[in-house]
Symmetry: D2
Subunit: 140 residues, 4 copies
């Protein structure tokens, strides 16, 4: 799926998540990988000026899903089975960029990792490993 196809699919299937106000944008997608941007929004902040953990969790989860879609096509019912995140550094008050990369794309399971960075920074603020269950008949 191309970036335009992915954004159209996500806007249709997840209208509460992908809409004009959410600030989520698919930056790139390829076989086995994807990059998604979350525009900074002040309501993501928590005390101390850091971006909330759940904001990063949601971004990582959707980026893994985009990487799966980009690799096997539109699979609306693929579901996360395991998701593990390590928070590494305090994010800046800037956009977040998530890069997902699939380490395995099997018949039943896709396993990937996601690194999240604050725009303009090299070191990741969070790192995720995640497993998606692929419905029968959809694997490549």
């Amino acid at each position: 799926m191309t970036v335009a196809e992915l954004e159209a699919f996500l806007a249709a299937e997840f209208p509460q998540m992908f809409n004009a106000a959410s600030g989520l944008h698919v930056e790139s997608a390829r076989f086995h990988g994807a990059r998604v941007r979350q525009a900074f929004r002040p309501e993501f902040l928590r005390p101390g000026g850091t971006v909330s953990g759940p904001t990063m969790m949601a971004l990582a989860d959707v980026t893994m899903y985009v990487a799966v879609l980009a690799s096997i096509g539109p699979v609306p019912l693929a579901v996360t089975t395991n998701f593990s995140i390590n928070f590494l550094r305090r994010p800046a008050q800037r956009d977040l960029i998530a890069d997902a990369s699939l380490m395995k794309l099997g018949k039943r399971l896709a396993v990937g990792e996601v690194a999240i960075r604050s725009e303009g920074h090299d070191e990741p603020v969070a790192h995720v490993t995640s497993t998606y269950s692929i419905p029968s008949g959809y694997s490549r």
Copy 2:
């Protein structure tokens, strides 16, 4: 901290998360544990009629935080360092109830688990283990 103290603290510190519209309620809290309810809202749904993963992640994260607060008092800068979730079953279109229990409350780290259930159901829809880092000087 009592439930009333916890809700006042959370509303002051996390106004974007704990407010009249969010549907989050501290049901109970004790030394080493807490229960938090997330009222059902249609915008949590994703295709297939299931509640989104990030909704459950956010609920589990806040419930662990409430259990930490209930155990060591108001610590605004305690932060999650690791969070791992297994999605077990499709949630019903009902309120979610999260029960957190601390397995360790050390000087530096608190480690707990959270089970999330759909209201009226016995079997958990998701299970989380999570680690919080406690700032120096706050541990009991």
Copy 3:
């Protein structure tokens, strides 16, 4: 499978792991759960007098496998797909007791948790969540 059937199956399939010298014993098994004991051996110690992490990892992994076998029968090719352990306390120089409990037993995946305790102690020294992939045709 009964405890005697489980021990015979494990000794036949995993002779390097289940033998007279290994100190592993199935204490009990039931639908959705199992208890396995690891007898204390001085070679498990690492500096500071604590039992090594990999000793606890191996014990937890086999206990989950016994719980799966006890629930769906002999499945030699079931494999762990994800295994996550939190080390909570320094173990005593005593036997370790691991209790596994399945949280989900689906057609493709079994998800469980394992608590490890030092014999005679109430508080867990480690906690594991783990996922097993079940070969097609074996699930109940």
Copy 4:
């Protein structure tokens, strides 16, 4: 610490793990990273001809520890607090090579990832994220 210093330290501190029979060798070490080889031994096999999960867990754990030692010097009491592994592919009946890379080296915690490959293969057989707790006074 150099490779020679690391191997001498490990042989002295962990004689049951690092000895002539164990087949573990530090191949390289640098600030924030390390590579450790586990020579193939038939007793690692389990049914189906695959290398056992606990063999890979132990290799990943020691490789992370070597990366920590190489970065902050000899710290005998650094301990793993969290260890999460995804098994991706069936390993070959060959040596295993583990590459650890630290994503964060803080005052209290080091967080890293480890990829394990069968010698001569490009794709990882397992991927680990792990957190080490650093005793007070040892961090850089």
